[in-house]
Point group: C2
Chain length 220, copies 2
């Protein structure tokens, strides 16, 4: 069924309760919700939002497909939550780096590292955010996009700052540079773990170096 809504099931995300389940005495429910989200993230990251069925998610958990709906009122809401968890932290981490009293170059290093580090422990959420957010319903996409754009603006500002203080070259376009940085980093999610010679610390170090100094042999 594509669109049908009549019960009092909660459709939007609010106060951690997502769906029509009553709150529990302890935090068991919250814990279980996170397990379900983990499974959803895994399946979304692996097969894409439309390629993944709610049945697939249930299979990961070893429960029945319908049982998912005790926790989530729709597949779309699950996607929204996974995407939010995939993007949240990016803005904060980047803001922290940007606020530090270090050179713009060092900030760029920090930004790359901050972008790649979440791949270590939340890869499925990050990948889903990066690749599947386009399939969110408009309202959710707006919410996620807002966070996303704020994050981009932090990066742009660091670049602009570096240009202003002479650290970066004059003609550089902050927006285009931001897109370049994000593009480079985004693609890491797709091959990390497959290209097993490369782990996050090495990649972030090397990528930052490329962005800052290029590949040319300027030394000696």
């Amino acid at each position: 069924m594509r669109t049908r809504r009549k019960s009092e099931a909660i459709d939007s995300v609010s106060e951690g309760r997502v769906g029509n389940a009553p709150q529990n005495t302890g935090s068991n429910q919250r814990r279980r919700q996170n397990e379900i989200l983990d499974a959803a993230a895994k399946v979304f990251a692996e097969r894409g939002y439309y390629g993944a069925s709610t049945q697939d998610i249930a299979n990961v958990l070893g429960i029945r497909q319908a049982s998912l709906y005790y926790y989530f009122s729709s597949k779309e809401i699950a996607l929204e939550l996974v995407c939010m968890k995939g993007v949240e932290g990016f803005f904060e981490a980047a803001s922290e780096v940007a606020a530090k009293k270090i050179s713009a170059s060092e900030k760029v290093r920090g930004l790359v590292e901050a972008h790649l580090t979440p791949l270590l422990d939340r890869a499925d959420f990050v990948k889903t955010f990066l690749n599947e957010r386009q399939y969110l319903p408009p309202a959710s996409r707006k919410k996620v996009g807002k966070l996303s754009r704020a994050y981009e603006r932090v990066i742009e500002k660091v670049i602009a700052e570096g240009i202003a203080n002479g650290e970066f070259r004059k003609g550089l376009d902050p927006r285009l540079m931001t897109l370049a940085l994000l593009g480079m980093c985004k693609s890491v999610a797709s091959w990390l773990g497959k290209e097993d010679a490369y782990a996050v610390p090495k990649v972030s170090q090397e990528y930052a170096r490329i962005l800052l100094g290029g590949i040319a042999n300027s030394g000696r």
Copy 2:
């Protein structure tokens, strides 16, 4: 229906005939096939392979869903053809650049340009190749992956060559650098047309400059 096959419909791609249609007197059929492919590419690029229905493709063309099967025996084959058309040319164009008698730096510039230029007139095919090839059935994925890896090797070789002749710095990892270049370029497909301040020539010039010299203000 997911898997059903019993008629003599042609399942694999061979000699331009894809499906069970008899060949035409003229090239009308070939032309029509390309129109259908264009529509499929458009829809795949827009909504993803699983997010796009054969009905969507038919709607673009103004014909009935079932009519598509006169030209293509399955949705998967259409995806394979779109992906092949999206990747074909990359290897050749890159090989041409690599064979030129120019410096490695100029080759990198040429490689970036060669990667971004197809976005001008085949954006939907390229996007589908980049984002949807993962959903190909194993046999097709292998075929596409082969071309894809050959392309990557051309880039790696240019980088390695530049390191060997001292143009690029010593510690540089050709594979990682290739992934960086491809990542940067791949992401362009997702925002080109939306970030309307940037067109392909400007982007490829700027991206090549970032890769080669970085963003640092080394001059003066």
